[in-house]
């Protein structure tokens, strides 16, 4: 009997489980509305595929943002890094310099890695607030994207071959997502590097005293973020079959919101890959379901915002209730 209650308690206090529950309830509700409205299944393979494909960028970058937030940092330059890398990839194809898909993906990822390295170096070595440094780079990379583009953009015809990788029905984006999530799950849970990230985020002084090179962890975290942002840049060009200098403007806020919904704390040290995945998925399902239940796409942002705020506030309230009950138990 006692064991049962403890399991139930553990389940209830786990952010992941409550998210799964909410997701399942939401999916069933939408499915019912859809099915009994005579519009077929919501959970059809095409719909599920689209949910992942349309939000592949958010899901991919959320992994990097998880690492950054775990160290109590933040990176708001990612959308610009994405734009810059994507634009480079697009222009290389437009000018017929390179058409090799794999090479272009690698190039974008390497450029992103470089962007992240710069970001991380300044944050770690100069001890400047991450939001300021990444804000500076947000301007720089976005500006460079415009410079690289030369007031042009790469259209569908220019990137036709490249777009094969990410076009509707191709397995490309899904493979990237699956590989990334599996890799991160393993890294964050079972490798020394992953645990070091948590250690630095929970208490950087303690981590430093116990022999962890905090600067190196910080730099590598921002490098990972840059790498994923660069990869997302190429992926974005491939999925949407175009490259514009202002592409995915403001995406960083979506990514941060997905992480926050998934239970990643902005004070560092708390968050998991599963939570991040569920948060991003929740965001994605919401975006897909709203039009289907009869709300115009113009309502999307409003509802997204309300959800983000509601999740954050609810989380605080439950945390308070939990603290209070813990206190009461101790007093007894």
């Amino acid at each position: 009997m006692e064991e049962k209650t403890s399991v139930w308690k553990r389940l209830r206090s786990s952010r992941e489980v409550s998210l799964v529950l909410i997701l399942v309830i939401m999916l069933i509700a939408v499915e019912c509305i859809q099915y009994f409205g005579g519009n077929g299944h919501f959970l059809s393979p095409t719909n599920i595929g689209q949910i992942f494909r349309n939000n592949a960028l958010t899901m991919l970058m959320a992994l990097g943002m998880l690492c950054v937030l775990l160290t109590a940092g933040i990176d708001i330059s990612i959308a610009s890094t994405l734009g810059f890398c994507g634009m480079v990839v697009g222009m290389l194809q437009k000018n017929h310099i390179c058409q090799n898909t794999l090479l272009l993906f690698l190039l974008a990822a390497v450029i992103g890695l470089g962007c992240g390295l710069l970001n991380g170096l300044i944050i770690a070595k100069c001890h400047i607030a991450p939001i300021i440094v990444s804000m500076g780079f947000m301007y720089i990379w976005r500006g460079l994207a415009y410079v690289v583009s030369g007031n042009q953009w790469a259209s569908g015809a220019d990137v036709a071959h490249f777009a094969e990788f990410g076009k509707d029905g191709s397995a490309g984006p899904y493979i990237v997502l699956i590989v990334a999530y599996v890799a991160f799950f393993i890294i964050m849970k079972w490798t020394r590097f992953g645990r070091r990230i948590y250690a630095v985020g929970s208490n950087s002084e303690a981590a430093s005293v116990s022999g962890i090179n905090v600067d190196r962890v910080l730099i590598s975290v921002y490098m990972i973020m840059g790498f994923l942002a660069g990869l997302s840049g190429a992926l974005s060009v491939s999925i949407y079959a175009s490259a514009q200098p202002n592409m995915q403007y403001g995406k960083e806020m979506d990514v941060i919101a997905a992480c926050v919904i998934g239970g990643v704390s902005m004070n560092g040290g708390r968050g998991s890959v599963v939570g991040t995945f569920l948060g991003a998925l929740f965001y994605a399902v919401l975006a897909k379901a709203l039009p289907l239940v009869g709300l115009d796409s113009i309502w999307q942002n409003l509802i997204k915002g309300v959800v983000v705020l509601a999740v954050v506030l609810l989380n605080t309230l439950t945390q308070r209730a939990m603290d209070r009950s813990n206190l009461e138990r101790r007093e007894m």
């Binding site: 933040i74 708001i76 300044i122 100069c126 001890h127 400047i128 607030a129 939001i131 300021i132 440094v133 804000m135 500076g136 780079f137 947000m138 301007y139 720089i140 990379w141 976005r142 500006g143 460079l144 415009y146 410079v147 007031n151 950087s204 002084e205 200098p245 403007y249 403001g250 806020m253 941060i256 919101a257 926050v260 902005m266 004070n267 115009d296 113009i298 309502w299 999307q300 942002n301 409003l302 509802i303 997204k304 915002g305 309300v306 983000v308 705020l309 954050v312 506030l313 605080t316 945390q319």
Partner: protein
Amino acid sequence: MAGKSGRTIDITPRKGKFFRWETGLIFIFIAVIIFGNIVSPSFNVKSVFMNMPKYLAEMFMMFAMGYILIIAEIDISVGSIVCLAATMTCFANNAGLPMAAQVIICLGVGTLCGVLNGEILTHFQELPSMIVTLGTQIIFRGIAEVSMGSGGSISLSDTKGFAALGGSIGIVPIAFILIIIAAVCFIFILSKTTTGRKMYAIGSNHTTALYSGIKVQKIRRNCYILIGAMAGVCAMFMLATSFGANTTTGQGFEMDVISMCVFGGIATTGGKGNLIGASIAGFTIVLLKIVLSLLNISGQTILVIIGILLIVSVMIPSINEQITNKKKKAALAAKA
């Protein structure tokens, strides 16, 4: 040496501060003027004033953002507040309300948004302001999008009132005069009144401020309300030059404003910096934008310049500090 939680107090007397951040900013400001004179034949007082109103609107929010940053908070919802206030004012305008009512609505909507931010943040003190304002950022823009409908844009039908607002007395734009007045008021409050000094106290150490009897939450809430109201003012002057709003109105304003403050020497960790520096930095960036627009350089190239300025301006003090720390250590070692 000081830990994460504590700050060291330097008791050694300062040897006449040779380099002040504001002095450096004035040099940069002058450099921009000289640069403008050299590269553009059409660069003179008149052309600068003529092009100014377009870029000035953001500066109204800069002062309030300075307060917010000094109390170690951040508000990234202001761009969306501008969008919402501008949209609502357009509706009021199209409904044929008098100019005074439109102004009240514009400021009122901004203030209301600020009240919402402030109330949430004071009732949920454990939440970082970044998350809450991220949520309200999406919500405010969402409300604007919903009210604009599927067209995604709305324009003023009667532009007379706002055109007058965007006009000038002689050659000096009204917006410029108001900014100078606002700057004087905000700087005075920050540096000469107890409220201003309390803000520094809160920013330097939140807990100490609380225990020394400062009403921390009241000041926090008021700062958020103030920045909401200033976002309303910004929306008004933005309408005076663009005569309409769309779903991307005000996008990125929050970052522009924060970067002006940081470039002006205000630390986002709180308790450091002043609005004099921020004002000079703001005018420098406005002037730079005007020079580049006179040169017909695409507006986006300036992003690179602003970004580099921003990073260099935060790197210099930090590197400087590291060098002095090293020197101090070396001196200590030599003594021993």
